[in-house]
Structures are given as C-alpha cells and as structure tokens.
C-alpha cells in the first residue's frame, strides 16, 4: 500500500496522495523533466519531499491529516442553539404531518376548493421544508465547530513519466491491433460507418410531407361564405353596419379545421364612406396596386384582410378604430386598414393581403375569388 505508480487504483481524490509522482512533477525541478530515473516500484523521491509539507504524509499513504475539532466554545450558547434546532425539527415534523392531513381533508373539484387545497398543501410543505432548512443551517453554524483546512493542489497535467508510459501503451496497442499497419482494414471500416451514420437522419424523412405548393394557397375560392368565427353564422352587409366594427371570419366548412384556419383566417372591417383609399378596379386573383384598397373587392365599405401577420404568422388581432391601425400583438407590426393594410411600423415587410368579397343571392358576404398572393409569414419558396 505504500507508493503506487498506477493512477486511479486508489480511487477517491486523485489529486491528493494517490499520484505522488505529481508532487515531483509539479515543482519543475530539472530531474523531473527527463525520463524517470528511478526504478519503477521503488518509492518516489517526491514522497520524501511531500513530508516537508505534509506532517502525516510521510509514507505516501497517510496523507490526510486527521483533525479533531474542538468542542463548541460556549456550552450555554450551544445548548440554546440545540434547543432552537430541535424546535425547528419538531415543528417541521408537525408541518409535514399537516401536509398529509391537508391532502386527506381538503378536496379539489371547484375553483375555491382548488385554491384552498393549494394554500394548505403548499403552506404546510413550505413550512416543513423551511423549518428543516433553518434547523440544518443553525446546526451547522452554531453546533459544528469552525474548521479550515488547507489542501494542496496539483497540476492537471500528468507527470512526464506517466505520459511517456501512456504513449508507449497506446502505441503498443495500436501496433498489436494492426490498425495502423493494414490501411485497407482501416479504410473499409471507416467507410462502413458512413452509411450507418447517415441512416438515423435518413430515417427521419417521414416526419412530415413535403410542403409542395400548399403554402401558396388558402381554401378561399369564389362563392365561399364568410362565417363569423365563434358563432359560425353567415353575415349580411346590412347586419354589419356599425363603422369601425371588426369581425373575425373563416371560410364556410373550415371553421373547425385548425390547419386551414391557420392560413385562411380573415378579418372584415366596416368603414365610413370616404375613409378608404381606393386604387383601380382589379380582377379577383390578379395583382393589385400596393397601399390601395381594391374597390370592387369590397362590399359597402366592408374590407376583408388576411388575419395572419406577414411577419411570423400570429393572428393580427388588435384593431384601433380611431386610427384604423391593425396591430399584431406578438411583435407589434402595424398595418393601415384604410390603405390596403400597408405596413406602418414593426418587423413585418408585406401588407396583409386583401380578400375579394361580394354578396350572394341571399345577401350574405362571400368570397369572389382566392387571395391574389400567399398569406402569412415569408418562406424561401415564396416569390
């Protein structure tokens, strides 16, 4: 058990005691820089040096100096501290039982019951934990004597001799395995790992379908009614006659389809005559003039815009009646509803697309065509 040359066999803290060569290695004496000069197995000269700083560490085994901490200095204070610690632990026990009892007695099942249950369970648990923690801290601080011990550090770098020995062992193994000698074995082995390394990524292909053109279009087409989101009822222009009003709508038949609604959500806004800045009349689906409302896509000063923000796709859900601003609550992109929902501020680049609307034979609002451009956030394939 005296001096050991093999790192790791003694376990525990390798920095201290188990690697005596380190002690020699770290001081930077010239004799330690070269190859080891002593016979393996004999005590290291470092051990004798250790003795100077380690009173009990003479033979390299007993490197930990035992310490017998003194009794607490003031017995009266210690007794008082003990009483406080015990009180904390007793109360913690009671609080802990309180937790168990509260679980059994206070039920859940309504908002107020849940509130009470949460207060009782949380309160008792908090109290138990807090008292335990406080007791433990007072114990450490008041009952345990203060101790300060100095331990030596050793450089992380292994001693030269160990590094040499490691190199030898490693090279020996490499030579024995013939791995270096036979390049064909080595290269084919490496080549064989390549497809296997790609395989896990390959297997992920079926995570989802390819996007194809699905982001370019929504389900809106000519003749689909605009249904109010929430009630699901169709809307007549006469019903929706309060200027400044806003309704979220979706296409008939798709209100419960989240995947489609994530693209097809639309807001309709009613304006006073003269508030809208009109551009030229445009065929539904054809490119429209920027920053202008297409007049023949509106019904009686009701305009329909995509609700999906062109920034990252949040619903642009806020509308300010006095300024006619549509505001996206996520990143504050602001659009002017009177000017074709052009961007006024914020990180969005493109205006909210306008949906061409009209009325059907029964007077309900319908789409008169699809959006003339992709809605929602930008994507690579969008031109």
């Amino acid at each position: 058990m005296s001096d050991t040359n093999s790192p790791g066999t003694t376990g525990g803290d390798p920095g201290r005691g188990s690697w005596p060569e380190y002690l020699g290695g770290e001081t930077g004496r010239p004799e330690d820089q070269g190859p080891p000069r002593r016979v393996i197995g004999t005590p290291s000269p470092a051990a004798s040096r250790t003795m100077l700083t380690q009173p009990d560490g003479g033979d390299g085994e007993e490197l930990i100096e035992p310490f017998t901490p003194p009794e607490p200095q003031d017995p009266d204070r210690a007794r008082k501290a003990e009483r406080i610690v015990v009180a904390c632990f007793v109360l913690a026990t009671l609080a802990g039982f309180g937790f168990l009892v509260a679980y059994a007695l206070v039920g859940v099942g309504s908002l107020t019951d849940t509130l009470h249950s949460n207060l009782w369970l949380g309160g008792t648990l908090s109290l138990a934990l807090l008292l335990l923690a406080a007791g433990a801290v007072i114990w450490v601080r008041q009952l345990m004597p203060t101790v300060e011990i100095t331990e030596q550090r050793h450089p992380m770098r292994s001693a030269e001799a160990d590094r040499e020995a490691f190199k030898e062992t490693f090279e020996e193994g490499a030579a024995t395995s013939q791995f270096v000698k036979r390049p064909l074995v080595r290269r084919t082995l490496i080549a064989a790992t390549v497809p296997l390394a790609i395989a896990p990524i390959w297997l992920l292909r079926d995570l989802g379908p390819l996007p194809e053109k699905s982001l370019d279009n929504t389900v809106w087409r000519k003749g689909l009614r605009l249904l109010a989101y929430g009630t699901g009822r169709p809307i007549t222009a006469a019903e929706f006659n309060s200027p400044g009003g806003l309704i979220s709508v979706g296409p008939e038949g798709y209100l419960a389809n989240d995947d489609e609604m994530a693209k097809a959500a639309v807001i309709i806004i009613k304006f006073r005559p003269g508030e809208l800045v009109f551009g030229p009349e445009t065929r539904p689906g054809a490119p429209s003039v920027p920053n202008k409302v297409v007049p023949n896509w509106t019904v009686d000063n009701i305009v329909a815009y995509s609700k999906i923000c062109t920034h990252v796709g949040c619903p642009a859900a806020l509308y300010e009646q006095t300024t006619h601003h549509i505001l996206c609550p996520c990143h504050q992109s602001t659009f002017d509803a009177t000017q074709g929902a052009k961007v006024l501020f914020g990180p969005a680049t493109r205006a909210l697309p306008q949906l061409p609307i009209g009325i059907d034979s029964q007077g309900f609002l319908i789409a008169t065509g699809p959006f003339n451009e992709p809605v929602g956030p930008s994507y690579w394939e969008r031109s």
Binding site: G11, D13, P14, G15, R16, G17, E26, G28, Q33, I64, G107, V108, L111, S117, N118, L121, G122, L125, S126, L129, L130, A133, A136, V140, T146, V147, E148, Q152, R153, P155, L204, L207, G208, P209, L210, P211, Y229, D258, D259, M261, A262, A265, V312, G313, P315, A317, P329, C330, Q332, G346, P347, A348, T349, R350, S378, Y379, W380, E381, R382, S383
Partner: protein, 560 residues
C-alpha cells in the same frame, strides 16, 4: 454508538463487496472552499432535481395528445368548450388532482429558477475568470446546458397547448420557415405538415421528458465530476494561493450546508408555487389559430429572442424567385448565436491573445481584468436591452411611452448601450484598481492628524490588515508577449509576425490594460508575513508584482 453499528453493519457489508473504505475516506475529506457565489451552481442542480421529481408526477396525468375533446371537468368557465386532450388534461391536473396545481406551479417556477440560476452562475464564472485553464471544458459544457435548458423550457411550456404557448409555437414555425433554402422543409418535418397539425405536442413531449432531460443529466454529471476532480476555484484571501485549496471538508460540513441549501431552494419554490400564480393556462384558453391577446410574453429566458424579433427593421429581399426574410432569421439566429459563439471561444481567444497558458485556480476580482469585465457588462447590456424590448408593449403601457418609441430606443441603445457600458465599466475597474493601489501604497487613513516637528500636518495611516492585503495584492501581472514586429531590434517570434501578429499585439494591449502594480507596499515587512514564502516579487511583462498570493509557475506551463 449508532455510528459504530452503522459502520459495522451496512458499512461492513458494503466494504466487503465494494471495498471503498480508503477511497471514500479521501472523498469525505475533500476540501470545499466557501463563497456565496459558489451557491449559484447549486441552485441549478437542485432546481433540476426538483424538476425531475415534479415532472415525473405531472406525466402521471398529462395526455400529450392533440385529439379534440369537449371539456367536462371542474373548471366551470370552460365546460363544453372544444379543446385538445393535452389542454384538457392540464386542466385536470390543475383542478381535479389534489396537489396537482401545486406541483405544476413548482415545476414551472423551478424551470424559471433553473434558467435564472444558469445565467447567474455563468455570469459569476465569467467575471471571476473561473473558466480559465484547466476549466475550459466545463465552461463549454455550461454553454451547452444553457442552450438545452432554453429548448427544454420552450418545449415544456408549449405542452399544455394553450393559447399563449400556441402563439409561441406559431412564432417558432414562422422563424424556422424563414431560414433560407431548408426552412420550409424543416418546419413541415417538425410539425408533420401544416401548422398546427396533430403531432407537434406528442413530439415535443417525448423530447421534453426524455431526450433533453437525459442529455442534461449526462452533462450535469460530467460537469460535476470535473468540478470535483479539478477541485473548486477559490477567491483570493489570506493564505490562498494558486496551488492550494482552503475550506471545510465535504463531510460533515459541505454535506450539511448543501443539504440545507437544497431544502431552502425547495422551500423557496414551494412558497412561490403556493402564493404566486404562474402560467394560469385556464385564463388563456385552449389554442386556436385565430385568436391572440395583447401583452403576450414568453418565459423570461426566451424574452431576448422575442425582443430581437421586435427590434429588427423589416428588411426582406426577393431574389430570383426566393424570399430572404432577413427580418425574421437574422434576429432569431444572430444576436444569441453571436453571444454563445463568442462565449464558447472566449477562453481560447483570451489564452491566445495573452499567451497565458498557466492553470488558474485563484479567481480574478472583476476589477483586476477590466477589459474582460467590460466585455461582460457590454454583453449583459446588449442582452438586457433586447430582453426588455421583448416586453416593450408592457413597458410602453406602464411607463406611458408611445409604443414605437420603445422600439426605436431599443434599436439605438442595443448598439450604443454596449459601447458605453464597456467604456464605463473599464474606467470604473481601472479606478478601483488605483484605489486598491492607493491603499496598498499609502495604507488606510486613520483620521489622526499629527503635526511634524517642522510644523507640517500629516494624516497618519496604518497598513491594511493581512486579510485585506491578501485580497488587494491578488492582482498578478500578465506574462509578456514574445517580441513582435514593433521591437525593431529583435526578430519577431513565430506567431507574432504579419497581420495576425499585429492583431495579437494590439489585442494584448487592450486586454491587459491595467493600473501599474504597486512596487512598494505600505508597512511592507510586517504586512507580508502571509503567503507561501516564495519571497521576492517576480518581474513579468514590465510590471512588478507584490509578493504573496501570486501564482507559482508550473512546469506544465508552456513557453514562459
């Protein structure tokens, strides 16, 4: 007596099978230095343990499914509402499982504490220079842990499928979609098709409860092992050198203290969960792609990314039929990516510039590394401004500032602010160094005025006491660079030639800028009895060090 019995019984049984008596004895006597900032890392460890415990409890009822159901539980306002099973089961945990709400809230608070603790821990490691050799590996592991923690948190709070977190997923989808070339495909693979689809919650669930926690657990294990193996750093102080550790042993001191600290962390989280409501998903309502409310913020650790998205001008190009959404992918990837990359490279960059390849176990006081401290504060300023911008609508509302002003203020200050912060911090550090020098050179003012025989009045000073002296004189000169091209008499050393050499020389000057290290210490002779007896001051890079706690040179240090 009970100790005897435990050792004789269980101890004997174990030792006969494992034989750990010797090794574990060494372990029990491992020395842990003490400083309050060393507790920051423990906060993370304990919050993580609490996260594992509470998270396991939650999985017993949570249904990671996006199948539509109609709610019939105890929460009356939502009865009859169509929602996903994930949302319904979260309501069930909150209102129909005893202790469910408490555990859910502990889990969420613990996640926030985990992330806050990581930030605080990282900041302390940076400013004290604890990441320096040999601890670079642990620094890198820490950065990976921070990244994993952010993802884990984001995926975790998205699981209940409520309106708020659904908007977060929508933003995530929009961000992924904006990535050039592969973005759309990545988004479709992640969501299994169009947003929101029916697979994202189950996918996030398994990543959240198995994959990332497993990685975090493995990395924490390595992180702790390395901390243990390399031993803790220590703060400068009397008798503390680069080659020793002073503190109390693991058993019983550290075990008792850290056990108590675990209980405190747990108690703090329980108190928060009992009295402070967090993530009340029943108020947000189930997710639908059409609704969104004002004042929507993610959890705090995602706020910086949110702010970056808000602050970015709306630049976007269409080239050859393809959209470059700079307004989305630049803020999503660049600011945080830059900080993490810089942080990961910093220890190596600093080593290369200063040529300092010594081991460092004695922490720097932040003032003693003015440039590093300046860079750190500048980074925190940059991060902080973008983080605040992530809640700009709330700030505008509460402070009555027009909304767009907040964004413009953030746009300007996120560039100007870090520069000012860097300059100011560096000046303050240099000033503090001079104050320390003054104390070392002239001693502490006593307030006693004495008249000299010549009639002159002077104030008496006394030397600083030993403890303060050890701290004040802990500043060590940087090793000098090998001669560069500026030294005309010598041939430039390799690595110091050409443009790279000039960059290194200039960076060295900036990085090592410090007040001169005082040569004479007031009352030297009796105030100098501490330390390790490595007598005379050593001269390095033109500056003389005060003797005492300076680093001893190791043979393992290359090239000095």
């Amino acid at each position: 007596m009970s100790v005897d019995r435990a050792l004789g019984g269980t101890g004997n049984w174990l030792d006969e099978r494992i034989g750990g008596a010797k090794g574990i004895r060494v372990l029990l006597r491992k020395i842990f230095p003490d400083h309050w900032t060393f507790l920051l890392g423990e906060i993370n460890l304990y919050s993580f343990i609490i996260l594992l415990l509470t998270g396991t409890f939650l999985t017993l009822w949570f249904q990671p499914s996006m199948t539509d159901v109609v709610y019939h539980g105890s929460y009356v306002p939502l009865r009859g509402v169509r929602m996903s099973e994930a949302y319904a089961s979260t309501l069930h945990i909150s209102f129909d499982v005893r202790g469910g709400l408490l555990v859910r809230q502990i889990h969420h608070w613990a996640a926030d504490l985990f992330m806050a603790g990581i930030f605080a821990h990282m900041i302390r490691i940076f400013f004290l220079g604890s990441y320096r050799k040999p601890r670079e590996i642990n620094w890198l592991i820490g950065i990976v842990l921070l990244t994993l923690g952010m993802l884990e948190g984001l995926f975790g709070y998205s699981l209940p499928d409520d309106l708020l977190s659904g908007a977060g997923l929508r933003i995530l989808e929009g961000v992924i979609q904006s990535v050039p070339i592969v973005g759309t495909y990545l988004a479709w693979f992640l969501f299994g098709g169009a947003f929101p689809g029916h697979v994202i919650i189950p996918r996030l669930y398994i990543i959240h409860v198995l994959l990332i926690p497993g990685l975090i657990l493995a990395l924490i294990t390595v992180h702790l092992f390395l901390t243990f193996y390399q031993k803790h750093t220590q703060m400068p102080g009397k008798g503390r050198t680069n080659t020793n550790v002073i503190g109390a042993p693991l058993y019983p001191y550290f075990l008792a203290k850290t056990g108590a600290f675990f209980l405190f962390v747990f108690a703090a989280l329980t108190i928060a969960a009992t009295f402070v409501q967090i993530n009340p998903i029943w108020l947000y309502g189930p997710f639908n792609p059409v609704a969104m409310s004002a004042g929507s913020q993610p959890d705090f650790y995602m706020g910086m990314l949110e702010g970056a998205l808000r602050v970015m001008p709306n630049w976007q190009w269409v080239f050859f039929g393809h959209t470059f959404a700079f307004n989305v992918f630049i803020p999503a990837l660049v600011p945080l990516g830059l900080i993490f990359t810089l942080a990961a490279f910093w220890p190596f960059l600093e080593q290369w510039i200063t040529g300092d390849r010594r081991e460092h176990h004695l922490n720097d006081r932040p003032r003693n590394a003015p440039t590093r401290t300046g860079i750190g504060i500048a980074t925190i300023t940059f991060y902080g401004i973008l983080w605040a911008e992530g809640a700009n609508d709330l700030i505008a509302d509460h402070l009555d500032i027009p909304l767009y002003w907040t964004t413009w203020i953030a746009r300007v200050t996120c560039i100007v602010g870090p520069v000012i912060a860097y300059w100011l911090t560096k000046r303050i550090c240099l000033g503090l160094q001079r104050k320390d020098n003054h104390l070392l050179e002239h001693g502490v003012e006593t307030g006693i005025i004495r008249q000299l025989p010549g009639g002159e009045y002077i104030e008496e000073t006394r030397p600083v006491d030993e403890d303060a002296l050890a701290v004040l004189s802990s500043r060590v000169a940087h090793p000098a660079l090998p001669a560069g091209e500026a030294a005309e008499t010598e041939v430039p050393a390799s690595g110091m030639r050409g443009a790279i050499g000039r960059v290194r020389e200039r960076s060295y000057k900036i990085l090592t800028e410090s007040a001169p290290i005082p040569e004479h210490i007031h009352g030297d002779g009796h105030g100098n009895g501490h330390g390790d007896g490595h007598g005379p001051a050593q001269v390095r890079s033109g500056g003389a060090t005060a003797s005492g706690t300076q680093a001893e040179p190791h043979p393992g240090d290359e090239g000095h």
